[in-house]
Symmetry: C2
Subunit: 205 residues, 2 copies
Protein backbone atom coordinates (compact mmCIF):
# COMPACT_ATOMS: atom_id res chain seq x y z
CA UNK A 1 0.00 0.00 0.00
CA UNK A 2 1.32 3.43 -0.95
CA UNK A 3 0.09 6.25 1.24
CA UNK A 4 -0.06 9.93 0.34
CA UNK A 5 0.62 10.86 3.95
CA UNK A 6 3.25 9.66 6.42
CA UNK A 7 0.95 10.40 9.37
CA UNK A 8 -1.78 8.26 7.86
CA UNK A 9 0.67 5.48 7.08
CA UNK A 10 1.97 5.50 10.66
CA UNK A 11 -1.50 5.31 12.12
CA UNK A 12 -2.48 2.46 9.78
CA UNK A 13 0.71 0.54 10.54
CA UNK A 14 0.20 0.83 14.29
CA UNK A 15 -3.46 -0.18 14.07
CA UNK A 16 -2.64 -3.20 11.93
CA UNK A 17 -0.36 -4.55 14.70
CA UNK A 18 -3.51 -5.54 16.56
CA UNK A 19 -4.66 -9.16 16.15
CA UNK A 20 -7.24 -9.71 13.41
CA UNK A 21 -6.79 -6.22 11.97
CA UNK A 22 -5.13 -6.10 8.56
CA UNK A 23 -3.98 -3.05 6.63
CA UNK A 24 -7.31 -2.59 4.87
CA UNK A 25 -9.36 -2.75 8.04
CA UNK A 26 -6.87 -0.43 9.76
CA UNK A 27 -7.25 2.10 6.93
CA UNK A 28 -11.04 1.89 7.19
CA UNK A 29 -10.90 2.50 10.95
CA UNK A 30 -8.44 5.38 10.61
CA UNK A 31 -10.50 7.07 7.87
CA UNK A 32 -13.53 6.73 10.12
CA UNK A 33 -11.63 8.58 12.87
CA UNK A 34 -10.85 11.38 10.43
CA UNK A 35 -14.55 11.85 9.77
CA UNK A 36 -15.35 12.01 13.51
CA UNK A 37 -14.50 14.99 15.75
CA UNK A 38 -10.88 15.07 16.93
CA UNK A 39 -12.06 14.76 20.54
CA UNK A 40 -13.12 11.19 19.88
CA UNK A 41 -9.69 10.06 18.68
CA UNK A 42 -8.23 11.93 21.61
CA UNK A 43 -10.48 10.09 24.05
CA UNK A 44 -9.52 6.74 22.53
CA UNK A 45 -5.79 7.49 22.71
CA UNK A 46 -6.05 8.70 26.30
CA UNK A 47 -8.14 5.72 27.38
CA UNK A 48 -5.64 3.26 25.87
CA UNK A 49 -2.61 4.94 27.42
CA UNK A 50 -4.22 5.35 30.83
CA UNK A 51 -5.29 1.73 30.77
CA UNK A 52 -1.85 0.47 29.74
CA UNK A 53 0.03 2.46 32.36
CA UNK A 54 -2.52 2.54 35.17
CA UNK A 55 -3.93 -0.96 35.26
CA UNK A 56 -3.13 -3.26 38.17
CA UNK A 57 -3.53 -6.94 38.83
CA UNK A 58 -5.19 -8.16 42.03
CA UNK A 59 -2.47 -9.36 44.42
CA UNK A 60 -4.53 -12.35 45.42
CA UNK A 61 -6.22 -13.68 42.26
CA UNK A 62 -4.20 -11.85 39.53
CA UNK A 63 -7.37 -10.57 37.88
CA UNK A 64 -7.27 -7.10 36.28
CA UNK A 65 -8.24 -4.48 38.83
CA UNK A 66 -7.87 -0.79 39.64
CA UNK A 67 -6.98 -1.54 43.24
CA UNK A 68 -4.54 -3.87 45.01
CA UNK A 69 -7.16 -6.44 45.96
CA UNK A 70 -10.04 -6.84 43.52
CA UNK A 71 -13.72 -6.51 44.37
CA UNK A 72 -14.34 -10.24 44.29
CA UNK A 73 -11.42 -11.12 46.58
CA UNK A 74 -12.33 -8.28 48.95
CA UNK A 75 -15.98 -9.35 49.19
CA UNK A 76 -16.55 -10.97 52.63
CA UNK A 77 -19.65 -12.79 51.34
CA UNK A 78 -17.68 -14.98 48.95
CA UNK A 79 -16.53 -18.43 49.93
CA UNK A 80 -12.73 -18.36 50.33
CA UNK A 81 -12.48 -22.13 50.54
CA UNK A 82 -13.41 -22.71 46.87
CA UNK A 83 -11.08 -21.42 44.14
CA UNK A 84 -11.96 -21.50 40.46
CA UNK A 85 -8.88 -21.60 38.21
CA UNK A 86 -9.38 -19.72 34.92
CA UNK A 87 -7.25 -18.50 32.03
CA UNK A 88 -8.04 -14.79 31.92
CA UNK A 89 -10.44 -12.01 32.86
CA UNK A 90 -12.87 -12.96 30.10
CA UNK A 91 -13.50 -16.28 31.80
CA UNK A 92 -14.07 -14.54 35.13
CA UNK A 93 -16.61 -12.25 33.46
CA UNK A 94 -18.32 -15.20 31.75
CA UNK A 95 -18.63 -17.21 34.98
CA UNK A 96 -19.72 -14.15 37.00
CA UNK A 97 -22.48 -13.66 34.43
CA UNK A 98 -23.97 -17.05 35.29
CA UNK A 99 -24.33 -16.07 38.99
CA UNK A 100 -23.75 -19.74 39.82
CA UNK A 101 -20.36 -19.43 41.55
CA UNK A 102 -19.80 -17.79 44.90
CA UNK A 103 -16.17 -18.70 45.56
CA UNK A 104 -12.98 -16.91 44.54
CA UNK A 105 -11.01 -17.04 41.30
CA UNK A 106 -7.38 -17.58 40.39
CA UNK A 107 -6.39 -16.13 37.02
CA UNK A 108 -3.47 -18.01 35.44
CA UNK A 109 -2.88 -15.49 32.64
CA UNK A 110 -2.74 -18.17 29.94
CA UNK A 111 -2.35 -21.89 29.37
CA UNK A 112 0.77 -24.05 29.16
CA UNK A 113 1.56 -24.10 25.45
CA UNK A 114 5.07 -25.21 24.43
CA UNK A 115 4.35 -24.28 20.78
CA UNK A 116 3.80 -20.65 21.79
CA UNK A 117 6.74 -20.82 24.21
CA UNK A 118 4.51 -20.56 27.29
CA UNK A 119 5.72 -22.76 30.14
CA UNK A 120 4.40 -23.20 33.70
CA UNK A 121 6.68 -20.42 34.97
CA UNK A 122 5.05 -17.83 32.69
CA UNK A 123 1.75 -18.42 34.46
CA UNK A 124 0.49 -17.60 37.97
CA UNK A 125 0.79 -21.19 39.17
CA UNK A 126 3.27 -20.81 42.06
CA UNK A 127 0.97 -18.42 43.94
CA UNK A 128 -1.92 -20.88 43.54
CA UNK A 129 0.13 -23.72 45.01
CA UNK A 130 1.14 -21.38 47.88
CA UNK A 131 -2.52 -20.68 48.61
CA UNK A 132 -3.23 -24.40 48.80
CA UNK A 133 -0.17 -24.99 51.00
CA UNK A 134 -1.33 -22.33 53.47
CA UNK A 135 -4.51 -24.35 54.00
CA UNK A 136 -8.08 -23.15 54.20
CA UNK A 137 -8.80 -24.11 50.59
CA UNK A 138 -11.20 -27.05 50.35
CA UNK A 139 -11.73 -27.29 46.61
CA UNK A 140 -9.99 -26.24 43.42
CA UNK A 141 -12.25 -26.10 40.34
CA UNK A 142 -10.44 -26.22 37.00
CA UNK A 143 -12.34 -24.07 34.49
CA UNK A 144 -9.97 -23.95 31.52
CA UNK A 145 -10.96 -24.44 27.90
CA UNK A 146 -11.36 -28.05 26.87
CA UNK A 147 -8.29 -28.11 24.64
CA UNK A 148 -4.96 -29.92 24.69
CA UNK A 149 -3.35 -26.86 26.33
CA UNK A 150 -6.16 -26.52 28.87
CA UNK A 151 -5.96 -30.22 29.81
CA UNK A 152 -2.16 -30.05 30.10
CA UNK A 153 -2.38 -27.05 32.40
CA UNK A 154 -5.04 -28.75 34.54
CA UNK A 155 -2.86 -31.84 34.87
CA UNK A 156 0.29 -29.85 35.71
CA UNK A 157 -1.48 -27.99 38.52
CA UNK A 158 -3.15 -31.18 39.73
CA UNK A 159 0.28 -32.83 40.10
CA UNK A 160 1.53 -29.88 42.16
CA UNK A 161 -1.33 -29.93 44.65
CA UNK A 162 -2.39 -33.58 44.80
CA UNK A 163 -0.44 -34.25 47.99
CA UNK A 164 -2.27 -31.55 49.90
CA UNK A 165 -5.63 -31.96 51.54
CA UNK A 166 -7.71 -30.34 48.81
CA UNK A 167 -10.45 -31.62 46.51
CA UNK A 168 -10.08 -30.96 42.79
CA UNK A 169 -12.82 -30.87 40.20
CA UNK A 170 -13.23 -29.74 36.62
CA UNK A 171 -16.25 -28.09 35.05
CA UNK A 172 -18.49 -30.62 33.31
CA UNK A 173 -17.91 -31.35 29.65
CA UNK A 174 -21.10 -32.31 27.84
CA UNK A 175 -23.54 -31.20 25.21
CA UNK A 176 -24.54 -27.54 25.30
CA UNK A 177 -28.05 -26.60 26.32
CA UNK A 178 -30.09 -26.41 23.10
CA UNK A 179 -27.67 -28.62 21.12
CA UNK A 180 -28.88 -31.38 18.81
CA UNK A 181 -27.49 -34.77 19.84
CA UNK A 182 -26.73 -35.91 16.30
CA UNK A 183 -24.38 -32.98 15.61
CA UNK A 184 -22.34 -33.38 18.81
CA UNK A 185 -18.80 -34.74 18.32
CA UNK A 186 -18.20 -38.25 19.65
CA UNK A 187 -15.69 -37.31 22.37
CA UNK A 188 -18.07 -34.79 23.94
CA UNK A 189 -20.98 -37.22 23.64
CA UNK A 190 -18.92 -40.04 25.11
CA UNK A 191 -17.89 -37.91 28.09
CA UNK A 192 -21.42 -36.72 28.64
CA UNK A 193 -22.55 -40.35 29.00
CA UNK A 194 -19.65 -41.32 31.28
CA UNK A 195 -20.24 -38.25 33.46
CA UNK A 196 -24.02 -38.51 33.51
CA UNK A 197 -25.74 -36.86 36.50
CA UNK A 198 -28.79 -37.91 38.54
CA UNK A 199 -31.88 -36.60 36.75
CA UNK A 200 -33.13 -34.66 39.78
CA UNK A 201 -29.93 -32.60 39.96
CA UNK A 202 -30.30 -31.66 36.28
CA UNK A 203 -33.58 -29.94 37.11
CA UNK A 204 -31.92 -27.40 39.37
CA UNK A 205 -30.72 -24.78 36.87
CA UNK B 1 -20.58 -6.55 30.46
CA UNK B 2 -19.34 -5.97 34.01
CA UNK B 3 -15.69 -4.99 34.27
CA UNK B 4 -13.47 -5.36 37.29
CA UNK B 5 -11.57 -2.21 36.29
CA UNK B 6 -12.78 1.25 35.29
CA UNK B 7 -9.65 1.80 33.17
CA UNK B 8 -10.28 -1.39 31.26
CA UNK B 9 -13.95 -0.53 30.81
CA UNK B 10 -13.07 2.92 29.45
CA UNK B 11 -10.59 1.51 26.94
CA UNK B 12 -13.08 -1.13 25.79
CA UNK B 13 -15.86 1.44 25.45
CA UNK B 14 -13.71 3.78 23.37
CA UNK B 15 -12.46 0.97 21.14
CA UNK B 16 -15.99 -0.29 20.53
CA UNK B 17 -16.95 3.11 19.10
CA UNK B 18 -15.05 2.12 15.95
CA UNK B 19 -17.12 0.66 13.12
CA UNK B 20 -17.29 -3.13 13.05
CA UNK B 21 -15.76 -3.49 16.51
CA UNK B 22 -18.13 -4.72 19.20
CA UNK B 23 -17.51 -4.97 22.93
CA UNK B 24 -16.14 -8.50 22.72
CA UNK B 25 -13.66 -7.69 19.96
CA UNK B 26 -12.67 -4.50 21.78
CA UNK B 27 -11.96 -6.50 24.94
CA UNK B 28 -9.87 -9.00 22.95
CA UNK B 29 -7.82 -6.16 21.41
CA UNK B 30 -7.33 -4.39 24.72
CA UNK B 31 -6.25 -7.59 26.49
CA UNK B 32 -3.77 -8.14 23.66
CA UNK B 33 -2.31 -4.68 24.34
CA UNK B 34 -1.91 -5.57 28.02
CA UNK B 35 0.19 -8.58 27.05
CA UNK B 36 2.45 -6.48 24.77
CA UNK B 37 5.05 -3.98 26.03
CA UNK B 38 3.60 -0.59 27.05
CA UNK B 39 5.69 1.09 24.34
CA UNK B 40 3.47 -0.48 21.70
CA UNK B 41 0.23 0.94 23.09
CA UNK B 42 2.04 4.24 23.48
CA UNK B 43 3.11 4.20 19.84
CA UNK B 44 -0.45 3.45 18.72
CA UNK B 45 -1.93 6.24 20.82
CA UNK B 46 0.67 8.73 19.61
CA UNK B 47 0.24 7.76 15.96
CA UNK B 48 -3.53 8.17 16.16
CA UNK B 49 -3.36 11.57 17.87
CA UNK B 50 -0.66 12.90 15.59
CA UNK B 51 -2.61 11.76 12.57
CA UNK B 52 -5.87 13.27 13.78
CA UNK B 53 -4.38 16.66 14.60
CA UNK B 54 -1.63 16.88 11.98
CA UNK B 55 -3.24 15.60 8.82
CA UNK B 56 -4.00 17.99 5.96
CA UNK B 57 -6.03 17.80 2.80
CA UNK B 58 -4.54 18.77 -0.57
CA UNK B 59 -5.82 22.23 -1.52
CA UNK B 60 -6.32 21.15 -5.09
CA UNK B 61 -7.71 17.60 -5.06
CA UNK B 62 -8.76 17.30 -1.36
CA UNK B 63 -6.86 14.04 -0.96
CA UNK B 64 -5.22 13.33 2.41
CA UNK B 65 -1.70 14.74 2.44
CA UNK B 66 1.04 15.96 4.75
CA UNK B 67 1.65 19.07 2.65
CA UNK B 68 -0.57 21.78 1.13
CA UNK B 69 -0.47 20.33 -2.38
CA UNK B 70 -0.25 16.55 -2.61
CA UNK B 71 2.42 14.59 -4.48
CA UNK B 72 0.13 13.71 -7.37
CA UNK B 73 -1.09 17.27 -7.94
CA UNK B 74 2.47 18.61 -7.64
CA UNK B 75 3.85 16.11 -10.16
CA UNK B 76 4.58 17.96 -13.46
CA UNK B 77 4.47 14.68 -15.41
CA UNK B 78 0.76 14.16 -14.77
CA UNK B 79 -1.87 15.27 -17.23
CA UNK B 80 -3.75 18.22 -15.70
CA UNK B 81 -6.44 18.12 -18.37
CA UNK B 82 -7.95 14.83 -17.18
CA UNK B 83 -9.57 14.67 -13.74
CA UNK B 84 -10.78 11.47 -12.16
CA UNK B 85 -13.58 12.02 -9.60
CA UNK B 86 -13.45 9.56 -6.68
CA UNK B 87 -15.09 9.14 -3.31
CA UNK B 88 -12.11 8.90 -0.97
CA UNK B 89 -8.40 8.19 -0.59
CA UNK B 90 -8.92 4.43 -0.82
CA UNK B 91 -10.15 4.84 -4.39
CA UNK B 92 -7.13 6.99 -5.25
CA UNK B 93 -4.86 4.27 -3.84
CA UNK B 94 -6.73 1.54 -5.74
CA UNK B 95 -6.51 3.39 -9.08
CA UNK B 96 -2.86 4.38 -8.52
CA UNK B 97 -2.14 0.68 -7.97
CA UNK B 98 -3.30 -0.12 -11.51
CA UNK B 99 -0.74 2.33 -13.02
CA UNK B 100 -3.26 2.95 -15.80
CA UNK B 101 -4.18 6.56 -15.01
CA UNK B 102 -1.83 9.50 -15.47
CA UNK B 103 -4.19 12.43 -14.86
CA UNK B 104 -5.18 14.13 -11.60
CA UNK B 105 -7.81 13.21 -9.02
CA UNK B 106 -10.61 15.05 -7.29
CA UNK B 107 -11.67 13.53 -3.98
CA UNK B 108 -15.32 14.24 -3.13
CA UNK B 109 -15.13 12.97 0.43
CA UNK B 110 -18.29 10.88 0.08
CA UNK B 111 -21.37 10.34 -2.03
CA UNK B 112 -24.70 12.15 -2.06
CA UNK B 113 -26.86 10.08 0.28
CA UNK B 114 -30.04 11.69 1.64
CA UNK B 115 -30.63 8.74 3.97
CA UNK B 116 -27.34 9.46 5.74
CA UNK B 117 -28.01 13.21 5.59
CA UNK B 118 -25.21 13.85 3.08
CA UNK B 119 -26.14 16.47 0.49
CA UNK B 120 -24.09 17.99 -2.36
CA UNK B 121 -22.86 20.78 -0.07
CA UNK B 122 -21.19 18.32 2.27
CA UNK B 123 -18.95 17.18 -0.58
CA UNK B 124 -16.11 18.86 -2.48
CA UNK B 125 -18.25 19.55 -5.57
CA UNK B 126 -18.07 23.38 -5.78
CA UNK B 127 -14.29 23.34 -6.17
CA UNK B 128 -14.56 20.75 -8.94
CA UNK B 129 -17.04 22.91 -10.85
CA UNK B 130 -14.69 25.89 -10.33
CA UNK B 131 -11.81 23.91 -11.86
CA UNK B 132 -13.94 23.13 -14.90
CA UNK B 133 -15.09 26.78 -15.17
CA UNK B 134 -11.47 27.99 -15.16
CA UNK B 135 -10.86 25.93 -18.31
CA UNK B 136 -7.95 23.66 -19.15
CA UNK B 137 -9.86 20.53 -18.14
CA UNK B 138 -10.67 18.35 -21.16
CA UNK B 139 -12.21 15.32 -19.50
CA UNK B 140 -13.88 14.41 -16.23
CA UNK B 141 -13.89 10.68 -15.44
CA UNK B 142 -16.48 9.59 -12.89
CA UNK B 143 -15.05 6.70 -10.84
CA UNK B 144 -17.59 6.28 -8.06
CA UNK B 145 -19.01 2.99 -6.84
CA UNK B 146 -21.79 1.61 -9.00
CA UNK B 147 -24.53 2.17 -6.45
CA UNK B 148 -27.63 4.32 -6.28
CA UNK B 149 -25.66 6.96 -4.32
CA UNK B 150 -22.74 6.83 -6.73
CA UNK B 151 -24.99 7.22 -9.76
CA UNK B 152 -26.88 10.11 -8.12
CA UNK B 153 -23.62 11.91 -7.38
CA UNK B 154 -22.36 11.35 -10.93
CA UNK B 155 -25.58 12.77 -12.34
CA UNK B 156 -25.58 15.79 -10.00
CA UNK B 157 -22.04 16.75 -11.01
CA UNK B 158 -22.79 16.08 -14.66
CA UNK B 159 -25.70 18.57 -14.51
CA UNK B 160 -23.41 21.20 -13.01
CA UNK B 161 -20.73 20.94 -15.69
CA UNK B 162 -22.62 19.91 -18.81
CA UNK B 163 -22.77 23.47 -20.17
CA UNK B 164 -18.99 23.81 -20.12
CA UNK B 165 -16.66 22.54 -22.82
CA UNK B 166 -15.59 19.34 -21.07
CA UNK B 167 -15.98 15.69 -21.96
CA UNK B 168 -17.41 13.40 -19.28
CA UNK B 169 -16.99 9.66 -18.99
CA UNK B 170 -17.56 6.98 -16.42
CA UNK B 171 -15.43 3.93 -15.72
CA UNK B 172 -16.74 0.84 -17.50
CA UNK B 173 -19.20 -1.41 -15.69
CA UNK B 174 -18.93 -5.01 -16.82
CA UNK B 175 -17.99 -8.46 -15.65
CA UNK B 176 -14.82 -8.71 -13.58
CA UNK B 177 -11.75 -10.36 -15.05
CA UNK B 178 -11.92 -14.02 -14.02
CA UNK B 179 -15.69 -13.95 -13.41
CA UNK B 180 -17.99 -16.72 -14.59
CA UNK B 181 -20.69 -15.38 -16.92
CA UNK B 182 -23.49 -17.49 -15.45
CA UNK B 183 -23.06 -16.02 -11.95
CA UNK B 184 -23.05 -12.39 -13.09
CA UNK B 185 -26.17 -10.38 -12.22
CA UNK B 186 -28.38 -9.42 -15.15
CA UNK B 187 -27.90 -5.63 -14.89
CA UNK B 188 -24.12 -5.91 -15.06
CA UNK B 189 -24.32 -8.45 -17.87
CA UNK B 190 -26.81 -6.28 -19.78
CA UNK B 191 -24.58 -3.22 -19.44
CA UNK B 192 -21.52 -5.18 -20.49
CA UNK B 193 -23.27 -6.12 -23.74
CA UNK B 194 -24.55 -2.58 -24.39
CA UNK B 195 -21.10 -1.10 -23.74
CA UNK B 196 -19.15 -3.75 -25.60
CA UNK B 197 -15.70 -2.69 -26.84
CA UNK B 198 -13.80 -3.50 -30.05
CA UNK B 199 -11.95 -6.78 -29.52
CA UNK B 200 -8.56 -5.32 -30.36
CA UNK B 201 -8.83 -2.71 -27.58
CA UNK B 202 -9.60 -5.45 -25.06
CA UNK B 203 -6.20 -6.98 -25.75
CA UNK B 204 -4.33 -3.95 -24.44
CA UNK B 205 -4.31 -4.55 -20.67
Amino acid sequence: MEFSSKLLENAVNEMSQLPGIGKRTALRLVLHMLRQPATQTNALSQALMQMRTGIKFCKSCHNISDVDVCEICANPNRDESVICVVEDIRDVMAIENTSSFKGLYHVLGGKISPIDGIGPHDLNIVSLVEKVKLGGVKEIIFALSSTMEGDTTNFYIFKQIQDFDVATSTIARGISVGDELEYTDEITLGRSILNRVPFESSLKL
